[in-house]
Subunit: 185 residues, 2 copies
């Protein structure tokens, strides 16, 4: 696993990704913008005219166990596939009640009862995924999840999102945006 990689998503007038939809799913939304730029690494500075920015960092897994990690790594698609022209950026925040639960209770809700890893595993060879953590960074969200998929997997992607939102884990999500994009370069 590579070291933590910081990222800043910059919404504004520039970037390879055109924003197709920028809607709140729970709570308030973010201002309208045309395009999205994804800046990786700590040296990257957002352009001054951004409509909004969201920052996070890759980090270690918090719930995944040995067998799940092996299975995920064997199956998962990588970012940047030429055919994966569609993307989604889904920032979420979880409730204080979630964060106050000890590790074993969070794991039980996350996987034993909500099957977050199990559901994701069914789609991970078509839908590339990278999770950025931001709770320790102090922004409004706890996680930013970035997905890339080809148009043929669009229906499967919607199904995955709907299944996850129907889980017990999602009872602990109190702020969620749903941003959809298409790559134009």
């Amino acid at each position: 696993m590579p070291p933590p990689l910081p990222v800043t998503f910059v919404a504004g007038d520039v970037g390879p990704w055109r924003i197709l939809r920028n809607a709140p799913y729970k709570g308030d939304g973010l201002p309208v913008a045309e395009r999205l730029l994804v800046l990786e690494g700590s040296q990257s500075r957002p352009p001054p005219a951004a409509a909004w920015t969201l920052s996070g960092t890759t980090s270690n897994g918090r719930y995944i166990n040995h067998g799940e990690q092996d299975a995920l790594r064997a199956r998962q698609a990588g970012l940047g596939r030429p055919e994966a022209r569609l993307a989604a950026l889904i920032p979420i925040r979880k409730t204080d009640r979630w964060w106050d639960m000890p590790q074993d209770e969070r794991r039980a809700v996350f996987e034993e009862r909500s099957h977050h890893i199990g559901i994701g595993m069914e789609y991970i060879s078509a839908v590339a995924r990278r999770l950025y953590h931001c709770r320790d960074l102090g922004g409004p969200f706890d996680f930013l999840t970035w997905f890339e998929y080809p148009p043929e997997a669009a229906e499967a992607f919607e199904e995955m999102v709907a299944r996850l939102r129907a889980t017990e884990e999602w009872d602990y999500v109190d702020l969620e945006l749903d941003i959809r994009l298409i790559r134009e370069t």
Copy 2:
């Protein structure tokens, strides 16, 4: 549990804590300084003349289970006890191998084999402790642990540190400082 509380430790000429010792335990050390100021909250800005600063944030527990959390909360001393005039700041970094392990393997090393929580529990009513996370913040360390204890608990504190350093978990620590302080206000 309160929301994440950012902190910056500022070493320089000011602050209520006089630095008694500032030694590397593994790896390189930090410059010499007289005093330490502890700035809490995101608004706090370090004075410009600092010898060094270290930043982190409180966060959710990563390993503790339900029973351990209840026991810890029932027993633990709070920060700021008038009699707890001694303090220690122990920044550590763990190896890539540690961070690449899935959750169940890290937990097994941390508690089932190294008894980190169990050892800490024996001292936690005399030695107040607060853990700040900083791996996701991108600094040189992964954790900054702050301890406060009265002079009568100094021997017990040294024993606790020595026991933890002798565990399997500490095989995964590759950078560690040991800073000792006394409160003079």
